[in-house]
């Protein structure tokens, strides 16, 4: 397995704010990564650092084996259209698609045209006059059709409706199957992209709190539902991630169970339900917040 990104001890400070705090991780080639976290967690800053758009306060970043800062060799293999991407004042969508191929060697014009139809994007209208969703779809099309070996999508679908979002997921998966590349997708619509992701990075208050294979992560917690007494007896001294209770019933989320433990739970008359990625991350983020408060 080869890595396209190696980050170690990376810190970015804005004044007194620690936007990225001593982060170390790597990104393997030709996988789809989810970079998840709450607003202001440091997702965009981290991606700006990886793409040489911002400068690290300390630590090291290697992308394709080299520092990305002012490095054309690295940067021409990267596509990064931000959520808040600004387009030149007088541009229409057609100007974006006319100029993009000059900068992306793998640009596929046919694919771009198909996407333009899928998203029903008006090419001849000034970008200023487009709706928020239409502007987002421009970024999505550029990100997909550029087929850059390392592609970043930063909250790509602000204002996109559910149909357009599902078109995006479908096209991304189809094209990724034919043209494998590394994709880093940042979003807070976690459940929507859950099936797309192969690896999950969760960032919270500038720190990576989860760096795990998506499959492993999904199996890492289970919710046990049953009568309070039975649930408590089963849970015992295990770490509880979350607890809900109504009357005599309880629903407790605990760390993943192996086959034997599952059988034991079922024998005890308990019901086991999987935990969605989103719930899991919410639980884990809360945990880290509490820990943070304690240590602060």
């Amino acid at each position: 397995m080869t890595n396209v990104v190696e980050v170690s001890g990376l810190t970015k400070r804005f004044g007194s704010v620690q936007a990225v705090d001593d982060v170390t991780f790597s990104v393997a080639e030709n996988k789809i990564y989810g970079l998840l976290g709450r607003n202001g967690a440091g997702k965009t800053t981290l991606m700006q650092l990886l793409t040489g758009q911002d400068f690290a306060t300390s630590g090291s970043i290697e992308v394709f084996g080299q520092s990305p800062v002012e490095n054309a060799k690295v940067l021409q293999n990267i596509s990064f259209i931000k959520e808040s991407q600004r387009y030149p004042e007088d541009f229409r969508a057609k100007h974006v698609f006319r100029s993009a191929p000059w900068f992306f060697a793998n640009w596929d014009a046919e694919f771009a045209e198909r996407l333009i139809e899928d998203f029903r994007l008006p090419l001849d209208r000034r970008i200023k006059k487009l709706s928020r969703g239409q502007v987002s779809s421009i970024g999505v099309i550029v990100g997909l059709a550029s087929r850059a070996p390392l592609t970043f999508f930063d909250e790509p679908y602000l204002g996109l409706d559910a149909v357009a979002r599902s078109i995006f997921y479908d096209r991304l998966l189809e094209d990724y199957a034919e043209h494998p590349r590394t994709v880093i997708l940042s979003t807070h619509l976690i459940d929507e992209v859950s099936n797309l992701l192969e690896h999950v990075l969760v960032i919270d208050q500038g720190r990576i709190i989860i760096d795990e294979d998506a499959e492993t992560l999904r199996g890492s917690a289970t919710t046990v539902v049953g009568t309070s007494a039975a649930v408590d007896a089963f849970v015992g001294g295990r770490q509880v991630l979350h607890r809900d209770g109504i009357g005599g019933l309880a629903s407790v989320t605990i760390a993943g169970l192996d086959q034997k433990e599952r059988s034991a739970a079922i024998a005890a008359g308990l019901e086991l339900t999987p935990v969605s990625l989103q719930q899991l991350i919410i639980r884990r983020t809360n945990t880290s917040e509490k820990e943070f408060e304690v240590s602060a």
Binding site: N3, T51, Q53, A72, N77, S84, P88, D90, A105, N106
Partner: protein, 256 residues
């Protein structure tokens, strides 16, 4: 586990990358080329109408010569120089964050933008020079009017070409420098920049006044002559261009 070296497609040469940025600036030629010529055309038509009115109401040759004397100080095209400063500011402040999304380095972006400005300066100065030649050949478009041949742009077309060109360069690169300050430090930076500039200019004026040295400045320009004075602007242009480069090298495409 190994780390890949830069793989993928054949990398573009440095020159190609810079030329791509030039093309990016001309992707939509409306603001940089079409609109300025249109405004110039409108000013020209309006001037033509004024010249015609003057010409038609001055029957004697002596009166007409008198009027022509006044018309040689025309400022009809001066707007275009200032407009190009605005074009440079807009071009950089808006295409910089965009180009960063396209994976363009700051270095390539600045060099490409500079080349685009030099090309624009060349296009506009050649265009204005050609118009000034037509103006001479037609004796002021038939009415003794002067829009492209004001006295302070030189005596012949070669001088005018030079004066137009260096003036355009000056405004483009001062605009570029201001834009890089904006891109890097936003409104705070631009405000600070103009305060510092104001202090320097007032300080210089005070110094010259208190030491009674204004004559030195006058003598300098008199000694340099028209062309020499314009040539000296290249020093300021170069300072602006180099400053812009270093300011942009550490700029980030953050939202305003």
């Amino acid at each position: 586990m190994t780390t890949t070296t830069v793989a993928g497609h054949a990398p573009a040469t440095p020159l190609q990358r810079i030329l791509n940025v030039v093309r990016l600036h001309f992707t939509n030629p409306w603001t940089t080329i079409v609109l300025p010529w249109m405004i110039l055309g409108i000013i020209f038509v309006a001037s033509l109408a004024v010249w015609w009115i003057i010409f038609a109401n001055l029957p004697s040759d002596a009166d007409r010569a008198d009027a022509a004397d006044g018309l040689q100080y025309s400022g009809g095209i001066n707007y275009i120089f200032v407009y190009m400063m605005v074009v440079a500011i807009q071009a950089i402040s808006i295409t910089f964050p965009f180009a960063q999304g396209y994976g363009v380095t700051r270095r390539d972006y600045y060099l490409g933008s500079s080349l685009a400005f030099v090309l624009l300066a060349a296009m506009y100065s050649i265009g204005l020079t050609i118009l000034s030649l037509i103006e001479e050949l037609t004796h002021g478009w038939g009415f003794g009017g002067q829009m492209f041949t004001p006295v302070y742009f030189g005596d012949n077309w070669m001088q005018r070409l030079f004066v137009f060109f260096v003036t355009f360069l000056f405004f483009f690169f001062v605009g570029a420098a201001i834009a890089t300050v904006w891109v890097r430090w936003k409104a705070t930076g631009v405000t600070a920049f103009f305060i510092v500039l104001g202090v320097i200019l007032i300080g210089a004026a005070a110094l010259l006044t208190f030491t009674s040295s204004w004559a030195v400045i006058g003598n300098f320009f008199a000694g340099a002559g028209l062309l020499g004075s314009f040539a000296w602007s290249l020093v300021l242009t170069a300072i602006a261009a180099i400053t812009g480069f270093f300011v942009l090298r550490r700029a980030t495409p953050r939202a305003a």
